[in-house]
Symmetry: C2
């Protein structure tokens, strides 16, 4: 069974790379920038180059879907890069191609707040995709950098799905109807993305789960099956949002970046500012098998489980990362 996780942001270490192998993870999309500008992002590419050099038996750089095949054949995890914000391209559309050349494959148009490209889900108002946003989506389509709207506001997401000539992704979020977090996605948003061939990866971050850290495996799996019925079993996958071994200072960076001198607790609160504990059935990368067993237990068929666990993301990677057709 191929296993692909479309979003992780761990405090990377040999321990975690070994856990990915123990969990049979063939590919992972990792966040290498939240609020980093271009030069800082290049430093993060450099860090990954060092890890690829140090752990060649555990991980390899992923650029195309066929790299997942190579990773499987050699018992490694292929690592694909993405950004949770367009910060790495700063205000420069020319950096879209440069970042793709360096290996970026996903870029969120916005992270919670308004960006130069679109509105984030924490803004009071959502005016949709901006003038620059339209230009940047066209350029992302051209080079093969996937538009990711995980942290974007609803109207912006629906417009991005319409404007983009290639399918877009919500790499990590859950249906709002199942868990009414601000970040989870309403029906019309999921529909806009999936009906144009896009993907939604389901998050295992407690703030996005029904009952948070107390969410049951059964509830999660029932949500998967219902979503498959509603939007099509070909458009769903995992985007665990696993932020493993990160100190609380990192969640502060994610939330606050450099945009305010005050503290913003995002999905947390003053009393609960840090990372919440994972549910016991998905502690870390070793637990993907629990999800497969949970899906099987509720009668989700083997073929569908294979699609959900990795097949759908594989197909999406196959068609998304190369040059687009000239428009």
């Amino acid at each position: 069974m191929m296993r692909v996780d479309a979003l992780q942001y761990a405090n990377w270490s040999e321990k975690i790379f070994r856990e990915m192998r123990a969990g049979g993870l063939n590919a992972v999309h990792v966040t290498i920038a939240y609020h980093e500008g271009f030069r800082e992002t290049v430093l993060n590419f450099e860090r990954w180059n060092t890890w690829f050099e140090r752990f060649p038996d555990l991980i390899m750089k992923g650029l195309t879907a066929s790299d997942i095949d190579r990773a499987r054949a050699s018992g490694r995890t292929a690592v694909f890069f993405g950004f949770q914000n367009p910060s790495p391209m700063e205000d420069d559309i020319g950096l879209v191609e440069i970042l793709h050349t360096l290996g970026a494959r996903f870029m969120q148009l916005t992270y919670n707040n308004q960006s130069l490209l679109a509105a984030g889900c924490y803004e009071a108002e959502d005016s949709g995709v901006t003038r620059m946003g339209r230009q940047v989506i066209k350029e992302m389509n051209r080079v093969g950098l996937v538009v990711d709207m995980s942290h974007s506001a609803d109207r912006s997401t629906i417009e991005a799905a319409e404007i983009s000539e290639r399918p877009i992704a919500i790499t990590h979020a859950n249906p709002h109807a199942w868990a009414p977090a601000l970040r989870n996605k309403r029906d019309d948003v999921i529909r806009a993305v999936t009906e144009k061939g896009g993907m939604i990866g389901f998050s295992l971050y407690p703030h996005h789960l029904r009952d948070k850290s107390d969410c049951t495996l059964e509830s999660f799996c029932a949500m998967v099956a219902e979503t498959a019925d509603k939007y099509g079993v070909d458009h769903i996958g995992i985007g665990s949002d696993l932020c493993q071994d990160q100190p609380d200072s990192v969640v502060e960076w994610m939330r606050v970046g450099r945009w305010t001198k005050e503290i913003d607790y995002g999905e947390g609160s003053a009393g609960n500012p840090g990372f919440p504990p994972q549910p016991p059935w998905f502690r870390d990368n070793r637990d993907f098998g629990n999800i497969e067993r949970g899906l099987s237990a509720i009668g989700f068929g083997a073929e569908n489980i294979a699609k959900f666990m990795g097949g759908n993301w594989y197909r999406f990677f196959e068609t998304s990362f190369g040059p687009g057709e000239a428009t």
Copy 2:
């Protein structure tokens, strides 16, 4: 008579510095960044340091209103710095104070397009001041960096005037009712800014003038007098938007920056892409006297002319550039 021009963006040279002296200009707010990031903006501060060193008898750096007095006493023009976009602060609120320390005194929250802080006047939608925008206005208020909304959209401007605890400025624009350019300001916008003690500087850039390059001095002066009646004679001044000796490549940079790979003609058009010719009565810095004579000819009193030509900006500078009261 004190003469202050609250916006110029020339291709600076000894010739222009001498014309400023010939025109009796005591102070000028110059744009040193359109789309430049922090490091590029520092280079522009460096260029000005070189000019201050080379032409100490013509120009001097302006940081406070009293520098205008020093400039007058020594027969020089005091040069105050500003940005037409928040690009120099990138995504980093900590740069607000750094830029103020370096000498910045005005910053537009947006230039035509959506920024991280607010919407520009060329966006189809205007969702007002963003989450980061609110934080940045507070910080600008604290350090004494003036919020300039010349190129911002209407709702964003009105909200900025409300949110800011210190008066804000529209350094260069005209009333939309007089010349219906997209960039000119509607009644409720001018009212929101002026009724809180803010200023509007009238532009002499042909795209903002009634009949453009054919605008008459009489028409311009009548507009000044009407606006004084409507919003108060203490809230108006000059912000000529003089872009002297600039090649057309510069207007392309202003309009296109790095946000699109296509050409955007802004206020121009494919057939008229460059800088339009100035009206004959305001060719350059030597012609401020024509405006004084024009105002006098329509019966605008001497005291009001003095306020309009520089007294109002002097008073605004006096109260705007120092530290704000803690809130």
